[in-house]
Symmetry: C2
Subunit: 350 residues, 2 copies
DNA sequence: GCACACTTTTACATCGATGTAAATACCTCG
DNA sequence: CGAGGTATTTACATCGATGTAAAAGTGTGC
């Protein structure tokens, strides 16, 4: 009942050296069955547990990876964090969840391991740092980007095909007879950044049907929260030619939009159809239930953790030579599937 | 540009001993201003950063605390985690978020620091472990409980006054003319556990008006998710004498309930009023907006972190003796405020 | 000029686990 | 039975920072 036992204590009790105990703990191949049994008996008897501080110091690897998301109480990132934590656990790694608050300095400091060498690697869902910033920033740590950042070839990244997803969502709205579709949270359709890519998919879908995109219907959002969705929607409704559909670039915007529509006495989906992205839980229970693009979140999480774990394990190789090359051959990109879930908010054709 | 600099390198560059560098880093009192300046210059020039593995090993304290919640994608816990992380950051501690999935073994292992001595302490939001289990379980780590566990005097805990909160919520419904109030997620009103305490407050409010509580209207929930709220509500509606109000013991249950009411063609609040607990974001934007008991979450987080930090720091002093591992001779209990936010889901009197 | 008290700095050991390389045990076969 | 090889085990150094205790430096008063 005194202090925690150490390897030394286990070794003494089992009558072997400390290194042998270590070998047993780490599943080294050359340990005789009898010896192993004796050590295991001692471990159990003393209730020994590895001291991670010692191991970390010696191995130079803490077993901790950081997950950096804009904000946890955005439903999407909470769900994702949930999944990442579970996946990391399966690989016996621990996750440190860090919130960037969409601030660039915080994202940068995360890439650097928060000014310490506490973490082995970082999974970052970038928001404030754009493509160029990411490209330029040299992290000493393995990094996996979560979400679309197409040109950041220096880093591994995992995402859905945002262009295709937005195209499908738009086609669905067009099929329902909608003609004036506003893009809530949209941005000029450049080939970079999630919002830009989704807007681009939208524009492509219109073009494919010979329709011109109306840039006045693309409304950027400062944040991707309910309140922004509500505010943008209220503004749209107050204009001369209000839209008959809203392509909201995430579910929170969509839920805020639906609330604003309700307040304005506009019926969903009869008067205005609404589609979101992310498939967060509240959208499944809202009234009306929200049509949304559902990314394969479990796979997103699994692939992100896998890529990072591999990078951490293989870090030795890249330390020396690879530096200096702008286009690293190792930067893997994984595209994960998505599904358009058609629910009540867009189900009725006009 | 090779490896990370160590204290050794800083010491060499500044022309002092390693210990002096350490003294500067740790703000020791006896360092001459000139020496300090020289060391700081060297630190800046080399880009030195403390290696936490070394510090952890030496100090026996990692600076990491664990937050254990049932599930992150329950909106309430994501919001709470958000706040706890920020608060811990202010105190320069790092938070490890762990999900118990409401499983007893996982909660127990958390109390033990996950089988390692990686974390300095634990903030636990217990769900699976009841009072007696908590009372019996001897943790080697400082623990702060988040949420109501009245008899667990061995551990510090932080919570709102659940009995009073439920009483107020019930009074509000009674004031609105409701007479058959179902308690969704309720349990027999024992003096322990959040659900039990809230049920108790409800019963007390009824009694105070000379009304008897109808035990058949108290419906326990397996989990506190949307689907459980929806299922329980659907069942209630199918019965001979359906309720005219739902006191849902958290917002998710309430949101699920509202969805079920909508599906059944029942109007909220005209036919049935709904009240929840937690004040999570989706309830603010639901249609109708959800009346709810809002705990002072920022203070909840602040106090939890404060209590734990104090316990961890207090432990340092006792290192020498290290006899009986008993933390906090007087387990502190902090009660945090709450507010009943009356919104649309209960606003119209009958 | 020197004893004494106080401030600042240092050498060294230590926290616990594990890689390295060398030592020892074990086994096979001529 | 011993050479030669493989399988196991060990002693020791090391990862990086910091507590301890002692050394070195500074200053004061007589």
């Amino acid at each position: 009942m005194g202090d925690r036992p150490r390897i030394r204590d286990v070794a003494r009790r089992a009558g072997v050296s400390e290194k042998t105990v270590s070998n047993v703990i780490n599943d080294h191949p050359h340990v005789r069955a009898r010896t192993r049994a004796a050590v295991e008996e001692a471990i159990a008897a003393l209730g020994y547990r590895v001291n991670l501080a010692g191991r970390h110091l010696r191995r130079g690897e803490s077993g901790v990876i950081a997950l950096v998301v804009p904000e946890l109480d955005l439903g999407y990132f909470a769900e994702l964090a949930d999944l990442v934590i579970r996946e990391a656990e399966r690989r016996s790694r621990t996750v440190l969840v860090h919130q960037s608050e969409a601030r660039r300095t915080r994202e940068e400091s995360a890439l650097d391991g928060f000014g310490t060498d506490f973490v082995d690697g970082v999974i970052l869902s970038p928001l404030a740092m754009d493509d160029d910033a990411l490209q330029a920033y040299r992290s000493r740590l393995p990094v996996v980007l979560l979400g679309e950042v197409p040109r950041a070839v220096r880093h591994a990244h995992v995402a859905i095909d945002n262009v295709a997803a937005a195209r499908e969502a738009t086609e669905h709205l067009l099929d329902g007879g909608r003609t004036r579709i506003a893009v809530v949270g949209g941005r000029p359709p450049r080939p970079s950044g999630t919002a830009e890519l989704r807007t681009r998919g939208h524009v492509e879908a219109l073009r494919a049907r010979g329709m011109a995109a109306d840039p006045t219907l693309v409304r950027p959002a400062r944040e991707f929260h309910w309140r922004d969705g509500a505010a943008l929607t209220a503004a749209l409704l107050a204009e001369a030619r209000p839209p008959d559909a809203l392509l909201c670039l995430n579910d929170l915007l969509a839920l805020g939009a639906m609330r604003a529509l309700h307040d304005a006495g506009v019926r969903v989906p009869e008067d205005v159809a609404v589609v979101g992205f992310d498939d967060i839980a509240p959208g499944r229970y809202s009234v009306p239930a929200l049509t949304t693009v559902a990314p394969d979140k479990p796979r997103l999480a699994r692939e992100a953790v896998r890529l990072l774990a591999e990078a951490v394990e293989g870090r030795r190789d890249t330390t020396g030579a690879a530096s200096g090359r702008e286009f690293g051959p190792s930067a893997s990109k994984v595209v994960v599937g998505h599904t358009l879930l058609i629910r009540e908010s867009s189900s009725t054709a006009r």
